[in-house]
Symmetry: D2
Subunit: 166 residues, 4 copies
């Protein structure tokens, strides 16, 4: 199982704490963490994953591996700028969003478009015409977020496995 952590490269201490707990719990449950590979929420999640003995993949926007945070095991250097956000989402069974700026919103949007489950910890809320049309699954703690991500990611995977359903 591969789970994406999305969130801003600058974040509050509370967001960093949640991201780190998500990373640690993903590691404990045997999931690989994929993220944008940089600072803030991404670095906190990678730090947590490594502390938990897990593995981390960073999908970097720029042209050099040097921009990866020190907890990235496998740095993927895309040189594609923000277009790398789609790769993070497509490669994941589920996405956990913490806080978030507009870059995070784009990742949530792509995930929902592609049918990848999104679990939110204090992130964007979406509505149209004043009515909530929010497909983000809300979690109230990092452990609950990971629990839901693994559960929803698993059913998402099984659906893929049905021949001809892609």
């Amino acid at each position: 199982m591969i789970v994406a952590m999305v969130g801003a490269s600058r974040c509050t201490p509370r967001e960093a704490e949640m991201a780190e707990a998500v990373g640690r719990e993903l590691a404990r449950r045997g999931a690989i963490l994929i993220c944008g590979g940089r600072g803030g929420v991404m670095e906190a999640a990678c730090r947590g994953a490594k502390a938990g003995g897990g593995q981390t993949v960073g999908i970097l926007p720029g042209a050099s591996r040097d921009e990866a945070n020190p907890y990235v095991d496998i740095p993927i250097v895309t040189g594609l700028g923000q277009a790398r956000n789609l790769i993070i989402v497509r490669s994941a069974d589920a996405v956990i969003a913490v806080g978030g700026e507009y870059g995070t919103l784009s990742e949530i949007a792509f995930a929902l478009k592609l049918g990848v489950p999104v679990i939110g910890l204090g992130t964007w809320e979406l509505s149209k015409g004043g009515l909530s049309v929010d497909a983000i699954v809300r979690a109230t703690s990092p452990v609950e977020a990971v629990e839901r991500a693994l559960e929803l990611g698993k059913s998402n995977r099984s659906r893929d496995a049905v021949p001809g359903s892609a």
Copy 2:
């Protein structure tokens, strides 16, 4: 001036009507229309632009020019899937969003991240923690949407022209 029209490839008659009016007004005001080059809102906007004597550019997701709607003058074939959404937004001075599904939300998110003005006609509303944090400029008619797009796009351009401000 280059203005992007973003919206779904399947849309309501009302959305198509608005998109067509936007395209016609952009043409009348001498702006080039850029969009995803396919059906629905995109086709309606291109049809309007051509009816108004304007020029249209379609940034296509697939591997062939054949997926362009018949009103695209310059088909750009990216083969990049949804990553082409970023090219539409980056190439525009302003973005007008009509209605919209998750793909449109991703385009809005990218535009806001890049600082490209977004004008909305009945599209997504954004909030965090129950508070609206909505940077989308709301318009109530196609003509007003184009008016705002040209005005905001122009100041956006001038800002770019200040040396060292990029």
Copy 3:
């Protein structure tokens, strides 16, 4: 008909002269010129096309329209770095390569992979195991290069038009 001009952003006076003549001839024959939108061979070709009254599209690698040469009519801002080379090639009916560095070689390689005809004016030669396996059509003058591009581009297009052949 859309024809791509590929070549380096730094080039010899002889290469610039050939590229400019290619641009002028494409314009005279009513073809749209597509290129990387920057300096050297690209700028010379755009200058020729504009002198001939033609239209030019620049597929830019960076994040801003400001890097386009002054003869680009439609700047497409990709933010994708060298990955934009594929878009140039995919969007063209035929590719004309002048001189060329490794970036040009990548464009030739992609064109040959995709089945887009490549016409060469003093560009790379390819072999394997000491045997030439060169699918580049060699031209000896800009006018001949354009002639072959339009001819081969046309048959390439017709092939696409056969239903089910994509």
Copy 4:
């Protein structure tokens, strides 16, 4: 150290044998294998790497993880088609090319453009104006190819580490 294996998804038995030996030797030397994640040369290299106890990363062109060969540990789903070739090359310290079709040529071209060392086992030869301008380092065996890749990849890395040299 991360080393890329590039080569066609259909290959001769001799090429598959070489690729498998490259994968095994990379694993033995502690390097991570990165490749396009599909069949032919890529699958053979991954199979070799897994047999040797190594780790494999597949940068997939399509929209689903299902196209990965069974020896890929970390499937990265790009949805970018051939543009994923650039990611393979950018993410590697060195590139080993076996045999090869035009897709492989594009990867070689990008690597040479980016200054990533390319080691060739029976692959393309490049010339201009009848003169060889071939920057590909030729190896005569898989073990030699890996040896050169690790050696050249290492000096390439050190160069990157000099502050301000990027």
